[in-house]
Symmetry: C2
Subunit: 371 residues, 2 copies
């Protein structure tokens, strides 16, 4: 069906029109760009990463993958880049071009409106910069395009901005699981009344759809991750790293499915794990041959002083698991791309509680989608 | 780009995958079906139209275009139809099949999961029934598929359910226009602070995007129609009929662009037209050769006792027009399909106030999208 992405080994086969309707369209709005540009944690990290490591940019060629409004490209130019190729798939490219001109770097920043996979550059580049991170790092699967860009256009001694990325998981307490269970019960009560009324008024018995209705609503209320900026005191165990990605080396195969065996020591007494929280951080460390002078980190972990527009992704556990300090949760984690649409994710978590006595309780399997 | 709809003359050329992502996907959810099935005005109208006109159905072949959960098809079977072909493009078809079985009409109702345009039936039908109406009647452009079905599968003396449809426009008073103007001002004040902060913290001047940001937000706040169930006392002039459609005769060309010259007499003193409201009604009158025994009407006009899930579409006038009893508003109305996506609509209203003295004020042009 339809035209396919091409060129990059390992890239998903997807109808481009559908992908634009489902995904890229959002990035064509300035209100959405402004939301990202107003995220101070995000902005500070990229700004400092570039402005405190000018040696990576001075006189160099840079590629910005998914430039959006073009701000990263402009910073690279301001840091002394000789040339910045700023690739953007949406009409936001026009605004990026205007912005580069307004800021006097139109001779350095060349905005190219195209899918990264379709672009041909006149030279290889010294730096690839990109803000490609989605919820829980990999939602949107945009890193595929960065890998494609790197394999084609980065010089052998080139540098990636960011250079590394990590995914984290932690057990949390939250009233949200009880709330969502109650919402589901309300929805089902409402459904039962609806079935009764439809039979009474219109002579059609709808009860055969009750199971499907419940499944649809369980998926919505309980089996879809929630966006949240949590308070750090909701975390009741030591976070575990799921995965570290070296942006210079990673392959699409490596990130298509993420699996990990995690140990989460509990540090709260008489508590309940009502959910897991997932988040990410990225580092700007340069490369081994060409390290950063000033390493910068961008984290989306729970923060009492506020959060990022990424927040954390919350995966509900239903029912919650009662825990005590000294217990450990052993989690078998797997994340893969949704079958129907490669930019969304399906997660499976198998939780096994190991009590401080050493006794293990039966494993509990939780499946949740990031939509 | 992609596979195209085919077969029906005049049908829009559209990528089917994109169309599914943008449109059909919604109808695959039971929560959405339930919303429609809980609309008592809608349900009563179709239920009475069928159950009070059994002579149209007894022993007949019926086609239900876009059957959804299948309820119309089941009613037709209960009214005595010999065969009901129930066509549905989404996976909701599975539920429709279950529901037909549960209600004992599985030998009569044959659910076919396909686009109407692609279906081949074993016979021509006596009745086509469909609930094809979108906001302000024609949003979704689903009537195209009904026309296609009619031209291919309805017998020469066949009947359409509904048989007729009408679009209406009325001047209304509402605080919503002032509210939306204020929302826009707030958004722009926020933008200006954002521009200042971005320059101060990150050395990039964003002011070149101010015009585009304002345009994007004017479109969102002022130039996109609003869904509303209005109170009848908000109507300050006599509603005018924009268009009447005879479902047996209508062509896609006839509904692709709707134009009308309307006269709206004002019946409220010292008031303001802050918006126009658009709605529709449909009639179940059968055909000339084969009339309904009991004519039924479904209206989505403002109703003090509640409304329908369609509500009315509200088109803001900015600034509002001051009017007095005895004035008339002459409206030149045009609605066409959005260039980028044929299921959405663009509307142009040229308003000319004729005072009771006979004096005419200069025309005011309003453009608004139904999204």
């Amino acid at each position: 069906m339809g035209s396919k992405e091409n060129g990059c080994a390992g890239s998903a086969q997807v109808d481009k029109g559908v992908d634009f309707a489902n995904y890229f369209c959002t990035y064509g709005y300035l209100y959405h760009q402004k939301e990202m540009l107003s995220d101070r944690v995000r902005m500070d990290a990229y700004f400092h990463a570039v402005s405190r490591n000018k040696h990576h940019f001075r006189g160099k060629a840079v590629l910005d993958v998914g430039t959006g409004s073009g701000i990263l490209a402009i910073w690279c130019a301001q840091a002394g880049a000789r040339k910045v190729y700023a690739v953007e798939a949406t009409k936001m490219a026009d605004h990026a071009r205007d912005l580069a001109k307004e800021n006097g770097v139109q001779d350095i920043v060349q905005v190219i409106e195209a899918s990264m996979e379709d672009v041909t550059l006149p030279e290889k580049v010294d730096v690839i910069i990109s803000e490609w991170m989605g919820y829980f790092l990999l939602r949107e699967s945009m890193f595929d395009s960065v890998i494609c860009a790197r394999d084609r256009w980065l010089k052998p001694d080139g540098v990636m901005y960011p250079s590394h990325a990590r995914m984290w998981l932690a057990p949390i307490r939250s009233g949200i699981t009880d709330q969502k269970m109650e919402d589901l019960n309300c929805a089902m009560n409402d459904w039962h009344s609806f079935v009764d009324e439809t039979e009474a008024h219109y002579g059609v018995n709808m009860s055969v759809l009750t199971k499907a209705y419940r499944e649809e609503h369980e998926k919505y209320y309980l089996k879809t991750s929630l966006w949240c900026n949590l308070d750090p005191n909701q975390i009741i165990g030591t976070p575990a790293m799921i995965k570290e990605i070296d942006c210079l080396q990673a392959t699409v195969d490596e990130i298509r499915t993420i699996t990990a065996q995690l140990v989460l020591p509990i540090n709260a007494d008489r508590s309940r794990i009502s959910a897991y929280a997932g988040w990410f951080d990225v580092q700007f460390k340069g490369s081994e041959q060409n390290p950063a002078k000033d390493e910068v980190e961008l984290t989306t972990a729970p923060d009492a002083d506020g959060g990022t527009h990424w927040g954390q992704q919350v995966f509900l556990l239903n029912p919650p698991i009662r825990v005590n300090e000294g217990d450990k949760v052993l989690v078998s984690f797997q994340m893969s791309r949704a079958k129907q649409y490669h930019r969304l994710m399906d997660i499976e978590l198998i939780s096994e509680l190991e009590l401080s006595s050493g006794k293990r309780l039966p494993p509990i399997t939780t499946r949740v989608s990031i939509e």
